[in-house]
C-alpha cells in the first residue's frame, strides 16, 4: 500500500494544477489581511482573524472544491488513457487503488490547511493585527489539522463518482453541487450531509465566532452521517472500478 501511495505522488510530477490549487490556500489569509487592513479591526483577537483566514470560506468552499477537483484529476488521467487494465494486471486490487488515491487527497488536504495556518499566522502577526501567542497558534494548527483530515473524508463520495466516470465534467459539476448543497442543508438539517456534519465536529466547542447552529450539537450523529456517506461511496467505487477494465 505504501508503494502504491508513493507511486501516486510520482504520477503528479509536472502537474501545474496541483501547485496552483495548493496556492489557493493563501487566498483567504491574504483576503483577511486586506479586510483587517482596510475594513475592520481585530481588536487584538487572533480568532477574529483566523475566522476569516482559515475557518470561513476555506472550510466551506475553497478546500472542498479543491479536493473535489483533485479527486477528479487523480481518477481522470488513468480512465482517460485507458491505463486501468495495465494496473489491474500488475496486480493491484481495486480497493488498494482507490484508497491510495484517497491517501493522496488526505495528505494534500492536510498540507493545504497547514499552508493556510502558516499564512494566517504570518499575515496576522507581521502587519501587527495580533500579537504572536503560542496558544492561539497551536489552536489554529489543531483546528486546521482537524479540517484537513475530516474534509478529505467528506470528499470521498466525489472520489467514488470520479472513479465511476471517464470524463471530468460530471465529477467537477457534482463537486460544486455537493458543496453548495452542504451549505444549504446546514440550515435545514446538519446531519444529512457530510459537509455540515464536518462543521459540527470542527466547531463543536462553539469557540469559532460567527456561526450559529440551528440544531443541537451531536458529534456521534455527525460522525455517523460522514460514515454512512463514505460506506456508500466505497461500495460505489468498488462496483465502478470492478466494471472498469
Amino acid at each position: 500500500m505504501l508503494r502504491l501511495i508513493q507511486t501516486e505522488f510520482l504520477k503528479l510530477r509536472r502537474r501545474k494544477l496541483v501547485w496552483l490549487m495548493l496556492s489557493s490556500a493563501l487566498f483567504m489569509p491574504f483576503f483577511a489581511l486586506l479586510y483587517f487592513r482596510y475594513v475592520k479591526e481585530t481588536g487584538g483577537d487572533p480568532i477574529q482573524f483566523y475566522r476569516w483566514s482559515a475557518f470561513g470560506y476555506t472550510l466551506w468552499f475553497i478546500l472542498p472544491v479543491v479536493l473535489g477537483t483533485l479527486c477528479t484529476m487523480l481518477m481522470y488521467e488513468e480512465n482517460q488513457h485507458d491505463m486501468l487494465k495495465q494496473l489491474w494486471i500488475v496486480p493491484i486490487s481495486k480497493m488498494e487503488y482507490f484508497f491510495s488515491k484517497f491517501f493522496v487527497v488526505l495528505i494534500y488536504s492536510i498540507c493545504f490547511m497547514l499552508i493556510t495556518a502558516a499564512a494566517s499566522v504570518m499575515f496576522s502577526v507581521l502587519p501587527g493585527f495580533v500579537t504572536f501567542e503560542w496558544g492561539s497558534v497551536l489552536y489554529l494548527l489543531k483546528k486546521c489539522l482537524e479540517i484537513g483530515i475530516i474534509t478529505s473524508f467528506v470528499m470521498l463520495p466525489i472520489m467514488a463518482i470520479a472513479a465511476s466516470q471517464k470524463g471530468y465534467i460530471l465529477p467537477v459539476t457534482i463537486t460544486l453541487v455537493y458543496v453548495f448543497l452542504g451549505f444549504i442543508l446546514m440550515t435545514v438539517n446538519m446531519y444529512l450531509h457530510p459537509l455540515p456534519s464536518m462543521a459540527v465536529i470542527v466547531m463543536r466547542n462553539g469557540d469559532i465566532p460567527g456561526l450559529v447552529f440551528t440544531q443541537a450539537i451531536n458529534i456521534p450523529l455527525a460522525f455517523l452521517c460522514i460514515c454512512v456517506w463514505n460506506i456508500v461511496a466505497v461500495l460505489l467505487a468498488n462496483i465502478a472500478l470492478g466494471r472498469r477494465k
Partner: protein, 307 residues
C-alpha cells in the same frame, strides 16, 4: 499433466446478443510463439482479455500455467507481461519515469531493469521527452518495454507492431523471436497481418467471427500450403499402390475417398495419368496446385481475405 501455458476450453463471450467469441479451444505450448491471426473485430483482443481476466467469461474455462487465473492473480500476473490494445501511460511523465512507476508497483528487484527494458526496445533511458509527445510507434515500444520489464515467463501481445514503421516492425519481430528462442519465453501474439504471423509464429490459430477455425503448428500449415499435385481418382487404395510402386511416392496425403495430394511436384503428371489409366484407375482430374497462406486463410474463412 500437459505442457500448455495457456489452455482455453469452450471459451465463449457474449455481449448482449452478439457472440464475440464462440467456444474457443486454444492451446499455447511452453516456449513457443503462438500467433492468433484474424481480421479486425474477429475476437482476438476479447480472447486475450478473457485469458487475463480483464473481461468476464460468459462460459468456458481458461487455465494459465495450469491454474484458473481467478483468485490466483497474485501468483499468476507477475509471471505475465502484456500489451492489450494501445498501451496507455502517464502523458506528463517521461518513458523512464513511467517504467519506474510500474517497476515500483511490481516490486521489480532487478537492478537496471528499466534501463535494460528501454534499451531492448530502442528507447533512450532518462530521456526528457514526455510520453504525451511520443509518436504511436514510440508508445508501442514503451508498451513492449513495460511488458518485458519484470522478465515474465509468458508474454501476451495484442498487435504489438501496430503503428511501427517497417524497420521498427522488423526489429520488434526479431526481438520477439529472440525472446522465445534464446530465453525460452512463451508468447501469445495477435495480429491481423498474415505475413507478420507467418514470419514469427511456431503455432497458429486462425480466428474469424469469434470462432477458432484452425489451430496447428506453422510447419503443418506450411505443409498444407505448399505446392502439390491434386489427383482425383476412382480408386484411392489402388492408385496409392501404383504410385508407391511405380513412382516411389512417399510424401502424399489422402483428402477423401477420391482425392489425393502428392507433394512431390517433380513428378510428371502425364506419366502418372497414363500409368493409372492403364491399370484401370479412372483419373477424374489432375493438376498442379499452389496454395499460399493467404489462399488458405481465405479458404477457411469463407473467402474473406486479410491484410
Amino acid at each position: 499433466m500437459n505442457d500448455f501455458v495457456i489452455e482455453t476450453k469452450q471459451l465463449t463471450k457474449i455481449y448482449k446478443e452478439q457472440t464475440a467469441v464462440n467456444s474457443v479451444n486454444l492451446h499455447v505450448k511452453k516456449g513457443r510463439i503462438y500467433g492468433l491471426l484474424g481480421r479486425n473485430g474477429a475476437g482476438k483482443t476479447t480472447i486475450m482479455k478473457m485469458i487475463l481476466g480483464l473481461t468476464s467469461i460468459t462460459s468456458g474455462e481458461v487455465d494459465v500455467f495450469g491454474k484458473n487465473i481467478k483468485g490466483q492473480e497474485e501468483q499468476v500476473y507477475p509471471r505475465i507481461g502484456t500489451i492489450i490494445e494501445t498501451p496507455g501511460f502517464y502523458p506528463n511523465l517521461t518513458a523512464t519515469e513511467n517504467l519506474e512507476i510500474f517497476s515500483k508497483l511490481r516490486g521489480t528487484a532487478a537492478p537496471h531493469a528499466v534501463e535494460n527494458a528501454l534499451k531492448i526496445v530502442g528507447l533512450p533511458y532518462k530521456d526528457k521527452k514526455l510520453f504525451g509527445k511520443y509518436s504511436l510507434g514510440m508508445k508501442q515500444r514503451l508498451g513492449i518495454a513495460n511488458a518485458i520489464l519484470h522478465d515474465p515467463e509468458l508474454l501476451i501481445l495484442d498487435e504489438p507492431t501496430n503503428g511501427l514503421d517497417p524497420i521498427g516492425i522488423a526489429e520488434v519481430r526479431d526481438f520477439i523471436k529472440n525472446l522465445s528462442t534464446t530465453r525460452g519465453k512463451t508468447i501469445l501474439i495477435s495480429s491481423h497481418i498474415l505475413s507478420e504471423i507467418s514470419l514469427l509464429a511456431d503455432d497458429i490459430g486462425i480466428i474469424d467471427h469469434g470462432v477458432l477455425l484452425e489451430e496447428s503448428s506453422m510447419s503443418e500449415l506450411e505443409k498444407k500450403n505448399r505446392k502439390y499435385i491434386l489427383l482425383q481418382v476412382s480408386d484411392i487404395p489402388k492408385a496409392v499402390l501404383i504410385l508407391e510402386r511405380q513412382f516411389h511416392l512417399k510424401d502424399y496425403s489422402v483428402q477423401d475417398d477420391h482425392t489425393l495430394r502428392l507433394y512431390d511436384t517433380a513428378l510428371d503428371i502425364g506419366e502418372i495419368n497414363k500409368s493409372l489409366v492403364t491399370q484401370n484407375v479412372t483419373v477424374i482430374s489432375s493438376g498442379l496446385c499452389n496454395d499460399t497462406l493467404e489462399d488458405y486463410f481465405k479458404k477457411i474463412t469463407g473467402g474473406e481475405g486479410i491484410a
